[in-house]
Symmetry: C2
């Protein structure tokens, strides 16, 4: 394309890491701009004036926001490279369904399981485990959610593959469990051992230190996910 | 296609009405099955076991759920008919962004403005008015959100075109205001006077009676949107 491609993200965000993973799978070079969410840049506010959130993908001066919207944009703009969506309309609909299930159900319940206590925590943990069992069922018989290759749903599930383990350790709870979710567990091992995926993941120790330092504040405010 | 096409919906739901509108715009015949949400049918539970919600579009025996996912499925399955998404990847991304803005921001704030009181209501009303001003800006210079023809965003905004006025009347508040949102107001008039759109709308009086009857319960429970 020759047009400038810039990603505004945050190192520890699974949402901007999704975009990096899609671009790397497709072999598209991009410039990365690290944002400070406590002091958002004029560029971030200019390119995402409504939500004021990362990630923002700036392509030839035009911004695309919201990670799942960006992933579809990347797929449609660089169709020839590694496909992250199947061609069949029904399978595409299923991929979109599971990506939204991850965002709307799995991530909020997991996140809140880590930053609540008592009954509220028990309820979020119960919901999380039910969601994980649903994902376990969906993965059955497949190497990746996308079949034989990493697809949209795998990219959307990056949070479960890498962040979930760190957050569980910080919160002292167990959600993704090898015994209860053997298929999901195998998927995580396979997924995060891929070279391209590894390149997109924040270092585990750095993420752990980051959330450990935030733990008290998070428990006090029960802040929703960024 | 020749394959059986069935829509499970609820007469008063803007979500299943979206699907009806897309199918009618494309001229695709379908069978409609009215669901009773207080006594969900075995079919609904079978075809949407995770969310147990309408709408469900059953095509050749295969279910698609979640209204925005269904709309994209309809677009990709019957591409040749009235296009509800533009061809250009950037414009498609923008349409997806606005559709999600309607679902994630506009609808919840409007709904809660109607079923809360006091400070909570004032805050939701403030948020709703800000959202409406953003939509007003997006519509500027265009006949429809989709340009010259009804597109995905118009379909997603069906709630604002028809339900918002009814709910405002029930709650005794004013959100969509001709003086403050002249462009949005003109869009509503244009949109709901289209023959195909009219065919998809529940009768205003029936909707009004329905929400009036529910008002006390809604105010007491502050129930989120179905």
């Amino acid at each position: 394309m020759g047009e400038e491609l810039k990603l505004f993200g945050v190192w520890g965000s699974p949402f901007s890491r999704r975009v990096e993973l899609a671009l790397r799978l497709k072999g598209i070079p991009y410039d990365y701009m690290e944002e400070d969410l406590s002091n958002k840049s004029p560029s971030l506010l200019k390119y995402n004036p409504i939500h004021k959130k990362i990630p923002v993908l700036l392509h030839g001066g035009k911004p695309v926001v919201e990670s799942l919207v960006i992933l579809e944009y990347i797929e449609e703009t660089w169709e020839g490279n590694h496909a992250i969506l199947p061609k069949d309309p029904y399978e595409r609909a299923m991929a979109r369904f599971w990506a939204r299930f991850l965002d709307d159900k799995c991530m909020p319940a997991m996140w809140m399981s880590c930053w609540t206590e008592g009954d509220a925590q028990q309820n979020f943990m119960k919901e999380s485990k039910e969601n994980l069992s649903i994902l376990e069922g969906e993965l059955k018989g497949k190497k990746f959610f996308g079949g034989n290759a990493i697809g949209l749903v795998d990219i959307a599930a990056l949070f479960i593959a890498h962040w979930a383990g760190v957050l569980q350790e910080v919160a002292g709870i167990s959600l993704v469990n090898e015994e209860k979710h053997p298929i999901l567990f195998k998927w995580i091992e396979e997924f995060i051992s891929s070279d391209i995926v590894v390149e997109c993941l924040p270092a585990r120790e750095r993420l752990l230190a980051f959330f450990q330092a935030k733990k008290e504040t998070m428990l006090a405010t029960k802040a929703p996910a960024q």
